[in-house]
């Protein structure tokens, strides 16, 4: 009983995630695609929670759903018109793209099945925020600072691209 419930939840989340991802790449309306992606990211947060990564799950919701996707939808609202879903949304290479991506997915799945089959874990998940905090400001402090520099650079870059031509000088 205790074992099957996580499996059930996983199956549910997996189906939702695959379905929503397919909507993301096939939907004619970019807006609907983005909403589906938002849902997919939420489902990924659920998977993180299932994996015992509570802090990362909350971070996923906060950063992806509450931040990135809102900016994404913002840009969609600025650059799309509601009637744009009448246009074709895929290019001419979609057959080759499907073949190629299917090949990659199959290769990966076969590899994973071969190498990582039957690895279980019995430990109970414990809260992780304290240990992640120690990790980020301890062992990982150099990448942490590097990432903050990258963020700063991207912020400056985004502001620069966002300016009008006459404002740039």
């Amino acid at each position: 009983m205790e074992r099957t419930i996580p499996t059930l939840i996983f199956g549910l989340l997996a189906m939702l995630l695959i379905g929503l991802s397919l909507v993301v790449v096939t939907s004619r309306s970019v807006f609907r695609g983005a909403v589906a992606l938002t849902g997919a990211l939420g489902v990924v947060a659920g998977l993180f929670a299932l994996l015992g990564a509570d802090f990362v799950a909350a971070g996923q919701l906060l950063i992806y759903v509450g931040g990135i996707m809102i900016i994404m939808l913002f840009v969609i609202m600025l650059s799309q018109r509601p009637q744009d879903h009448l246009d074709r949304q895929t290019n001419d290479q979609w057959v080759w793209g499907a073949f190629f991506s299917l090949a990659i997915a199959c290769a990966l799945i076969m590899q994973f099945r071969a190498v990582y089959r039957g690895i279980f874990v019995t430990t109970v998940a414990t809260p992780t925020s304290a240990s992640i905090g120690r990790l980020l400001l301890g062992d990982m402090v150099v990448p942490f600072e590097a990432v903050s520099l990258v963020l700063l650079a991207s912020l400056v870059g985004a502001v620069y691209f966002g300016l009008d031509k006459e404002d740039r000088s």
């Binding site: 695959i18 970019v30 990564a53 990966l108 991207s154």
Partner: protein
Amino acid sequence: MTLSLHHFLMLSAIIFGIGIYGALTRRNILGILMSIELMFNAANINLAAFNHFLYPDRVWGQGVVIFVMTLAAAEAVVGLSLVLAIYRNIKSVYTEKLNLLHG
């Protein structure tokens, strides 16, 4: 049936494949960006799964997930501001319209 590492890995492989398909075939720059986000998330699922199943007493995998998310945020912000700049100049977000270097 009990959950095992390869379930998560297979799911992430499928999502990664879908992401590649989207990135290869979408006409819309925004669609391509969204597909890339999907691929990022496939990788994140892997990282968290490896952390959970192989090293349950440590959180390095989760730390890396946080870095990936931060970098994805940076990527999205720059990418989207580029999309807006492109849209301002050529009034379109379709990739085949970006042919200024085509002569």
